[in-house]
């Protein structure tokens, strides 16, 4: 069990900078998720921790050991790959025992540890099968089993659920979380799926273009994103953004757009004190809209429904309000049809304001 510390990590592939000034301290037994779009450097970071990629700059520590130059096999880590990387010519047992055999573990101990891991994952009956005889979910379990038999200090997961179907993914998500509790080991988990990140991580690291955008607990990221990228990346459907002009009348401040205006509550208006620009970027999450019966200028938004997407538990409405296209997530019991007018009431306490110059949150 160990903490992992990354200090000023950078990785350059010739001219391309994959990761830049990455600083992160992962506590012992913590479940940290690196999340971001393709090419953001999350997998590269994971591979640097694993020792599969050299580090251009910076230091990585596991516990108190500086591991920059340590070969992968001496880092005492285990990694689960996206495609599972099971050895096709070996049985499940041989796959799981392979790592221990390489480390010259006594045969009796190998047998016991494989048996124990197989019991944890419920794959005892698959021991004699070859990977091609397994389903996607079973392969995934074997890959995890192969990692846990080694009892490493740190587990690294590289998008391990992306090859599973939606239902199995949800199920496996829960199982991995339980496994983390049971094993109580540090886990670094890479995914591009924000739902996976939100549901699994103790802390989430959001990355973009090789840079950390924000580090925080799932709810911190959801409630207080530091910039537009994080705000848009976390949450599904994605947060609505629109530009608005700031209009002052006395002490009151309101947001003006082509189609509607919103009066800012005093605590939100206080955020804009000293903000020199005339325009601001406003963010509202789709779930922070309510249906209103009557249009009240400054409090509600008059819109026209464009597309109705019922997903069962709720309904996603794509509406247009003036020149803004907004998405609202509303109660599934509401009956609504395209081209119908619809009055939205934004929950103003959950409004997000971003600086138009650098897209950072105004707080």
């Amino acid at each position: 069990m160990a903490e992992v510390r990354l200090e000023d990590i950078s990785k350059h592939f010739n001219e391309v900078i994959a990761v830049k000034d990455f600083n992160l301290s992962i506590k012992d037994r913590e479940f940290v998720v690196l999340v971001g779009p393709s090419g953001c450097g999350k997998t590269t970071t994971l591979r640097m921790i694993a020792g599969l990629e050299t580090i251009t700059n910076g230091n990585i520590y596991i516990g108190r050991r500086l591991i920059n130059r340590l070969p992968a096999k001496e880092r005492n880590i285990a990694m689960v790959f996206q495609n599972y990387a099971l050895y096709p010519h070996m049985t499940v047992y041989q796959n799981m025992a392979f790592g221990l055999e390489q480390r010259k573990t006594p045969k009796e101990e190998i047998r016991e540890r494989v048996k124990e891991a197989a019991e944890i994952l419920g794959i005892q009956d698959l021991m004699g099968r070859k990977p091609k005889q397994l389903s996607g979910g079973q392969r995934q379990r074997v890959a995890v089993g192969r990692a846990i038999v080694r009892k490493p200090e740190v587990f690294l997961f590289d998008e391990p659920l992306s090859n599973l179907d939606a239902k199995l993914r949800v199920q496996t998500r829960v199982e991995l979380k339980k496994l983390h509790e049971r094993l109580a080991t540090t886990i670094v988990y890479v995914t591009h799926d924000q739902v996976e990140a939100m549901t699994m991580g103790d802390r989430i690291v959001v990355m973009k273009d090789g840079l950390i955008q924000q580090v925080g607990s799932p709810l911190e990221l959801y409630n207080a994103p530091t910039n537009i990228f994080v705000a848009g990346f976390i949450g599904s459907p994605s947060m609505n953004f629109f530009e608005a002009e700031l209009a002052r009348s006395g002490n009151a401040l309101s947001l003006q757009t082509e189609g509607f205006s919103i009066d800012l509550p005093s605590e939100k208006a206080a955020v804009l004190k000293g903000y020199p620009e005339k325009k601001v970027i406003v963010g509202i999450r789709p779930e922070d809209f309510l249906k209103a019966e009557k249009h009240v200028p400054g409090k509600t938004i008059q819109s026209t429904v464009e597309v109705v997407e019922p997903i069962g538990s709720e309904i996603y409405l794509n509406v247009s309000a003036g020149e803004c296209a907004l998405t609202a997530s509303v109660d599934r019991k509401i009956h609504v049809k395209p081209h119908q007018s619809f009055i939205l009431k934004p929950a103003l306490d959950y409004l997000h304001l971003f600086d138009i110059r650098n897209e950072n949150a105004l707080a």
Binding site: L52, K73, Q82, L86, P88, G99, Q102
Partner: protein, 277 residues
């Protein structure tokens, strides 16, 4: 019925025609073996069937020539050249494909360019080297020169095969504490078996049939390989001993046919570079 008709026209008839085209020379070879010279040169007889079968050509081949010695020579050269080429190609292809050193790309291309140099040009400098090495008229001259055309092709074939093996498998083994050489031995080689078999068949067939180097570097009858032995000992001046010639060709094609028929499935998988999990 209509579907069968269209399949007949589009598939069975063309395949049958192609098979006839492909197998006719073998048929001709086989029937010539069992015909006497008298029958062979009688233009009044139907040439496509055997009228009075005889084994005299086979007997001639095995008693009047040292055919079995030639077979052994060919086998010796083919097996050794194949093994040397395979060992070199496996290591070269793995290094080019996986170690990603700075010149791995150009090295790959350079090896392939070696394959493009025609044998007819290459045998002149090679003859010089063989002479300098005092290997002239020795089977070792062939064992050492055949890899010049075997290694480039095999390396390219195996490079394609290695490419189809997910890199993660090796990385996982690396994390598990396996050395590079053990990864190669325990993971790569078993997975590449179809590729290795295809390369083996390819090398073996080419070495077995090779003509030019064997003609240029070997002159003693007892050191000759089958293709050279047959042509030099059974064609005397302008007299072709067709019966024994064909018997020799038929016997010589048996080992290759056997090798192919045993490994045909692997051969196809190897050529397409398919790795099935």
């Amino acid at each position: 019925m209509e579907r069968f008709g269209s399949k007949l026209v589009r598939f069975y008839i063309p395949t049958a025609l192609y098979l006839v085209f492909l197998l006719f020379p073998f048929y001709w070879m086989a029937i010539t073996v069992f015909k006497s010279d008298k029958e062979l040169y009688n233009l009044k007889l139907n040439p496509f069937i055997i009228h009075s079968p005889t084994l005299e050509n086979v007997v001639h081949l095995f008693t009047q020539t040292i055919f079995l010695k030639w077979m052994w020579n060919t086998f010796f050269v083919a097996i050794l050249a194949t093994l040397i080429s395979l060992a070199a190609s496996l290591l070269a292809a793995y290094a080019i494909q996986r170690l990603q050193f700075k010149t791995s790309g150009p090295t790959g291309v350079a090896i392939f360019l070696g394959y493009l140099v025609p044998q007819t040009i290459l045998f002149i400098p090679l003859a010089h080297i063989i002479f300098k090495m005092r290997l002239w008229d020795s089977l070792w001259s062939l064992v050492l020169t055949y890899p010049t055309f075997l290694i480039p092709f095999c390396t390219w074939l195996l490079m394609g095969y290695f490419k189809s093996i997910p890199k993660e498998m090796e990385e996982c083994a690396m994390i598990d504490g396996t050395s590079r050489i053990n990864i190669f031995r325990k993971i790569i080689l078993p997975l590449c078996l179809p590729g290795i078999l295809s390369s083996f068949i390819f090398c073996f067939t080419l070495s077995w049939n090779e003509f030019l180097y064997a003609l240029a570097f070997i002159s003693t009858t007892t050191s000759k390989t089958v293709p050279i032995g047959l042509v030099t000992e059974l064609v005397r001046g302008d007299v072709y001993h067709w019966g024994p010639l064909m018997a020799g060709a038929l016997c010589a094609s048996v080992p290759v046919a056997l090798v192919y028929s045993f490994f045909v499935e692997h051969y196809v998988a190897g050529m397409t570079g398919a790795l099935k999990e």
